[in-house]
């Protein structure tokens, strides 16, 4: 800001410069990858990207062993495994799709990303390879759905994650309670605990804990969306779904989990509340086991499947987990598929379970695992009862990032909107995302 600089002069100058630059660059479109189709070389370097876990050592050891076995069987093939941080995986993987030359051949990815990655043109179709693979026959149906888009398979499941009900055995014993058998009993138990122990949440719930809330929706016969032909239509505003939404949001309140504190909680925060002894029950995953073991609740808790609406039924859980896929741009297709089979095979999954506690995606391997480690038994039972999955469409990424479901739950629990109004607003947003995704 010099004393002599006249603003209009500066602006005119900048405008002129902008126009000149724009003119010079006209025709310079934003970059688009050429998406060169890969080749099928039988020797050379295979690059693999796997997620870096919090305690990655045991995972790296199992993977290292599997890779060494692969290299022995495939002379001339070398494998380079890179562990990428989970937080920045989206950028890394998108960048890999954009620049095939620096992209890996094989990647690990979250199973809710499958449809988006397929739409982005990043993953190779391995339907025939998957069908010709004997081990794949034991893959559980929910895990198989998580690699399938429009009837084609785009990878192999690596592990599944599923949630169940953690409860404090000491609190239950002192109050003379039994683990709830229906959702109504669950709500009643939570209320009773909070009444008698006001410093504890009966059941810790969170307004942005989508995957903790969905079992309530599914258990009441609801669905997120229905598929007609190739098109999805939102179903969160159906009567059945609204019954489930009412059941979940009914857990918020001074009688259990006050909205002022619980409306903004996510899944990790509710598990944290349980682990630190501030909640008598929580909906946590098999992957939360270690966090709870490291908390105050250690040694004073047990896990049962989350009850469904009817006595003795189990609420369908969300089948989370990760898959391994081959990139379309890979120049070693056959080798990459072989490596994918090695990494997701029964032996590797069984070893990964022992090392990391990742639940295997093969029903027989999982049964075997539950025998070795009894703590996974309720999770295995939950999976056997039938797990559910989010709509397999690229629109799911937009719905997830747009926080459509958390906003719906939060609107209800904070009293801004009725269940009807919030559910129909969410359905409208979901439908526009489905339309946009084509």
């Amino acid at each position: 800001m010099t004393p002599s600089g006249r603003p209009s002069g500066v602006v005119a100058l900048l405008t002129a410069a902008a126009l000149a630059t724009a003119a010079a660059l006209t025709g310079c479109a934003p970059s688009t990858s050429t998406g060169a189709a890969g080749g099928d070389e039988r020797t050379g370097l295979l690059r693999v990207w796997l997620f870096r876990e919090v305690d990655n050592g045991p995972k790296a050891a199992v993977v290292g062993k599997a890779v060494a076995a692969f290299a022995r069987e495939h002379r001339g093939a070398r494998v380079d495994v890179t562990y990428i941080p989970v937080e920045t995986r989206a950028q890394r993987i998108k960048a890999a799709f954009n620049d095939p030359r620096s992209a890996p051949d094989v990647i690990e990815y979250g199973n809710t990303d499958t449809a988006g990655y397929v739409r982005d043109g990043g993953l190779a179709d391995v339907t025939a390879d998957f069908a010709a693979w004997p081990e794949a026959r034991d893959t559980d149906p929910a895990a198989r759905r998580s690699v399938t888009v429009d009837g084609k398979v785009y990878g192999a499941p690596l592990f599944v994650g599923v949630r169940a009900l953690y409860y404090r055995t000491d609190v239950f014993r002192e109050l003379g309670l039994r683990p709830p058998r229906t959702q109504a009993e669950l709500a009643e138990t939570a209320r009773r605990i909070h009444r008698e122990r006001p410093d504890l949440y009966g059941l810790a719930v969170g307004g942005s804990y989508t995957y903790g809330a969905l079992p309530f929706l599914w258990a009441n016969g609801g669905a997120l969306a229905e598929k007609k032909g190739r098109k999805y239509t939102a179903a969160v505003d159906s009567e059945a779904a609204k019954r489930g939404i009412t059941a979940y949001t009914g857990l918020f309140g001074e009688h259990n989990c006050p909205p002022a504190k619980c409306a903004q909680l996510g899944g990790n925060a509710t598990v944290e509340a349980f682990a630190s002894g501030r909640a008598a029950m929580a909906i946590g995953g098999d992957f939360s086991h270690r966090a709870v073991e490291n908390g105050k609740a250690a040694g004073r808790y047990a896990v049962v499947p989350l009850p469904g609406a009817e006595e003795g039924s189990i609420a369908p859980a969300f089948a989370g987990g990760n898959n391994i896929g081959v990139l379309k741009s890979s120049s070693h297709r056959t080798l990459a598929v072989e490596l994918m089979r090695t990494l997701t095979g029964k032996r590797t999954q069984s070893e990964l379970f022992d090392a990391m506690g990742f639940l295997p995606t093969y029903t027989d391997v999982r049964r075997e695992a539950a025998r070795r480690q009894p703590y996974v038994e309720p999770f295995v039972r939950t999976l056997s009862a039938g797990a559910a999955f989010v709509p397999v469409t690229p629109a799911w990424a937009a719905i997830d990032a747009g926080q459509v479901l958390p906003v719906m739950f939060q609107e209800i629990v904070s009293g801004r909107r009725s269940v009807d109004a919030a559910a129909s607003a969410a359905a409208k947003k979901m439908n526009s995302a489905f339309r946009a995704a084509g």
Partner: protein, 299 residues
């Protein structure tokens, strides 16, 4: 030799202009271009062809009721932040000129500490201070007799959440205003102030009639800086309200753009939001400079 003297400054400026053009104008040009295309992850990775949308992205944006609401919220919130930051910064700058060396050093150190703290760290610490279960603020207020604050969740109510974020924004941006204005005040000749005091002017009158007019160019710079910073606030909202607050009640434009566009790879929509922000900031800046010029001020 007239032509020669006319072009000489441009030759000297050329390196800087080329750099600015490359680093500033080219990205803005790309931003504008993408905002007219359909450009999602599928186009970036070459899965689908890029297509021209005209003003389609802008139309979609302005049809979206939430975007209009977020835009209004952002303008009001930024205005409140700018006013609070300027008031705090100026008041403390004046205070700095009045106190002894030791308290001045203490205030300066505290302010520089706040300035140097990364936004994510600052936001996390503020969040902890106001935590309903463990935060010292609620405990202190309760002990002072305000029992309503026992376990009070600051981020639950829309306005208290915005107030909390505003406090953090002011906390981390007032030092810039304070230091700059303080330097400006020190540059005001002592004789002028002394003369005003001898004429019997009150402190407030001296500030209004002598110091503030002399500080005008500096105040213009800090105001514009604050407007631009506070309009683009992202980290504080994102961290403190967990990505936009309960049911999106605390969304500001930048967080909205991130959520709507980048997290779901709708780059063209995100670019359109970016262009709208750019135009608003440009309009505010030009209007402000024009207003000053019409009052006969050269800056």
């Amino acid at each position: 030799m007239r032509t020669h003297s006319r072009w000489t400054p441009w030759i000297y400026l050329a390196p800087a202009l080329v750099l600015l053009g490359g680093l500033l104008l080219y990205p803005v040009y790309q931003l504008g271009l993408i905002s007219f295309l359909e450009y999602t992850q599928a186009q970036v990775s070459g899965g689908r062809p890029t297509s021209f949308q005209g003003f389609g992205n802008y139309a979609a944006l302005f049809r979206d009721g939430q975007f209009r609401e977020v835009l209004l919220t952002t303008v009001l919130f930024a205005a409140a932040c700018v006013l609070a930051t300027l008031a705090t910064g100026c008041a403390l700058a004046v205070l700095l000129t009045r106190v002894r060396a030791l308290p001045r050093l203490a205030l300066m150190t505290a302010a520089l500490g706040a300035w140097a703290t990364p936004a994510v760290t600052g936001s996390t610490v503020w969040l902890f201070l106001f935590d309903p279960d463990f935060g010292p603020v609620d405990k202190l207020l309760t002990r002072l007799g305000m029992s309503g604050f026992d376990g009070y969740s600051w981020t639950y109510d829309r306005y208290s959440a915005f107030a909390l974020v505003l406090l953090e924004v002011v906390w981390c941006s007032f030092p810039f205003v304070m230091v700059t204005v303080y330097a400006g005040i020190r540059a005001v000749p002592a004789e002028v102030l002394e003369a005003a005091a001898l004429d019997g002017a009150s402190q407030w009158r001296i500030w209004r009639a002598v110091t503030a007019p002399m500080l005008r160019p500096i105040l213009v710079v800090v105001t514009l800086q604050s407007v631009i910073w506070d309009f683009k606030v992202f980290t504080q909202i994102y961290v403190m309200t967990n990505g936009g607050g309960i049911a999106g009640q605390n969304l500001t434009l930048n967080v909205y753009a991130y959520q709507k566009a980048f997290a779901s790879s709708q780059y063209s929509l995100g670019s359109a939001i970016g262009v709208v922000m750019l135009l608003i900031l440009l309009a505010v800046t030009l209007a402000y400079l024009r207003l000053l010029r019409s009052q006969g001020e050269e800056i």
